[in-house]
């Protein structure tokens, strides 16, 4: 039987307490706010080496070719693209339209179907709120999944407050949705299904083509948040029968502050605009289009189209190297999400008997992200890991490794070496690991609350 001190210590470090009173979407939003508290921010010293960047899902460094394309529009060609009366406006508009075509070409769309936004968050908001409000007279139901990005879940929460019915579909243990369950969930009054292409936490790739065909057969609009997918996997909105797609600039080596929304023209989908003003972007998103950013997004899309296969091959090789080396060196490591239906550059590993935030602090030379959200006051695992049925303790022990275009083999090897070293060190300090080594079954222990 455990003594009180040990059980309290272990409870404090490993057990999560979820608040049943919060709705699913609310709980997901609050998790992010608490995540920032444990690791304290500080500036690097002048001669202190920079950490390796292994968080490509959070953001990506701008490709030098993108910066090269943007600079003339930051320095010389500074006209407003909506000015119709002089060369400054005309050249700026021409650049913006060229960028629009570059974005459209990457996803197999018509340039007239692309609306520039401030990013995928705005695109997601426009899609969910815009479609729901436009068709609200006859359609009051929205379907999404439990593993969507926070902006999608929060937008759905807002729609619930406006009187819409929202179904948050569960996912299987591998992170994929059940198509049959989706089909059964769609109702005659469903206006929109929103399912992300590639999950930002676990990298799982949903069967978008099958979902698109299903939605088309049921006359339901289909939106996909493709922020993590565009430029990384081949996308064709017509093959996939996607009606709306959100694109983020800073996830594909482009600038921050720009994104795009794809809105199908045939069959036509209409949305109620969120932002009113001068009627730019066909009245769907008023506001001056930031030409340098749009040019940057266009350049990033063109480069991504040229380099897609090359980058995918590079990222796959490095991701396999990372996973295989870690799993060969240390036991009890779990890869979260489907091992096949995934984007290889997003690797989410759970290291059993090690606390995720402790491992992050120990790996101070590597910029990584944790899949869990811990604070001293409340311990809640990532809602995505919770949705795929990961055990509480493993959810707290997860780390997300992001690999991208500029990641080198040396960086991966260094990360592996440090990760293995620190996991071994932390496990030696862990009373749970000691118990496992002695042959005690952790799951058979009855924990007490004090």
């Amino acid at each position: 039987m455990m003594n009180r001190t040990l059980s309290r210590k272990l409870l404090g470090s490993m057990c999560g307490i979820s608040n049943p009173r919060l709705s699913f979407a609310q709980s997901a939003v609050n998790t992010v706010q608490r995540e920032k508290e444990l690791i304290k921010s500080r500036e690097l010293e002048k001669d202190e080496p920079r950490p390796l960047y292994m968080d490509f899902q959070a953001t990506t460094p701008m490709d030098p070719r993108v910066l090269d394309a943007m600079l003339p529009y930051q320095v010389n060609y500074y006209g407003n693209p909506h000015s119709r009366t002089h060369a400054y406006g005309w050249e700026s508009e021409s650049a913006m339209e060229k960028a629009r075509k570059q974005v459209a070409d990457l996803i197999g769309a018509d340039p007239r179907e692309i609306v520039f936004t401030s990013g995928a968050t705005e695109s997601n908001n426009m899609s969910i709120k815009g479609v729901a409000r436009f068709y609200k007279a006859k359609k009051k139901h929205i379907v999404t999944t439990q593993t969507e990005h926070k902006c999608v879940l929060d937008s759905c929460r807002i729609m619930e407050a406006e009187g819409f019915d929202v179904t948050y579909l569960p996912v299987k243990n591998n992170g994929l949705i059940d198509l049959k369950q989706l089909e059964e969930t769609i109702r005659p009054d469903t206006s929109l299904v929103s399912i992300m292409t590639v999950n930002n936490e676990i990298g799982v790739k949903q069967p978008i083509k099958e979902i698109g065909h299903l939605c088309r057969s049921k006359n339901v609009f289909f939106h996909t948040d493709a922020a993590q997918a565009v430029g990384k996997i081949p996308i064709n909105v017509n093959d996939w029968k996607v009606d709306l797609m959100s694109i983020s600039g800073h996830k594909l080596y482009g600038p921050k502050g720009i994104g795009a929304l794809y809105l199908r023209r045939r069959p036509r989908i209409r949305i109620e605009p969120l932002q009113s003003g001068g009627g730019q972007e066909r009245g769907l998103r008023s506001g001056t289009v930031p030409t340098p950013l749009a040019v940057g997004l266009g350049a990033a899309c063109e480069i991504a189209q040229q380099e897609l296969e090359y980058d995918h091959k590079h990222v796959t090789v490095l991701a396999n190297r990372l996973v295989q080396k870690i799993m060969a060196a240390i036991p009890d490591v779990v890869l979260n999400g489907d091992p096949d239906q995934r984007y290889p550059g997003c690797v989410n590993l759970s290291f059993a008997y090690v606390e995720g935030e402790s491992l992050l602090m120990a790996l101070k030379d590597v910029a990584l992200s944790s899949g869990s959200a811990c604070t001293s006051a409340s311990l809640e695992p990532s809602y995505v890991l919770r949705a795929i049925g990961t055990d509480e303790d493993l959810a707290h022990s997860s780390i997300r490794f992001g690999i991208g275009r500029f990641t080198t083999e040396d960086e991966v090897d260094y990360t592996v070496e440090k990760c293995v070293q620190q996991v071994k060190r932390l496990r030696e300090m862990s009373p749970l690991w000691e118990m496992v080594q002695e042959g005690i079954d952790i799951k058979s222990i009855k924990w007490t609350q004090h």
């Binding site: 080496p49 920079r50 390796l52 030098p64 275009r405 500029f406 960086e411 260094y414």
Partner: protein, 90 residues
């Protein structure tokens, strides 16, 4: 055609020297890898028009690298752990 390729090789060597001297880390490693792989992918191309197009693209690419290396040098920051270790072992 040989003159174009020789010209390109000379520019490529220049870029290599710049990269070794300034070492812009991951970006430069990527540039070196990408240019090397591009040379290898296209080494059997014989159609003169295609070669000329590739050479033009390569020249533009090398000019871009030179510009970006200059900008990178203006805003140089600390090296990463791996870059520091790489420099020590050189």
């Amino acid at each position: 055609m040989l003159c174009l390729v020789d010209d390109l090789k000379a520019r490529w060597l220049k870029i290599l020297k710049i990269s070794i001297s300034c070492c812009l880390g991951g970006m430069m490693t990527y540039a070196l890898r990408r240019v090397r792989d591009a040379f290898r992918e296209n080494r059997t191309v014989e159609d003169p028009k295609v070669v000329e197009e590739l050479v033009k693209r390569a020249r533009d690419g090398l000019a871009l690298i030179q510009r970006q290396v200059c900008i990178g040098k203006m805003f140089e920051i600390q090296k990463t752990v791996v870059e520091q270790e790489g420099k020590k072992s050189d």
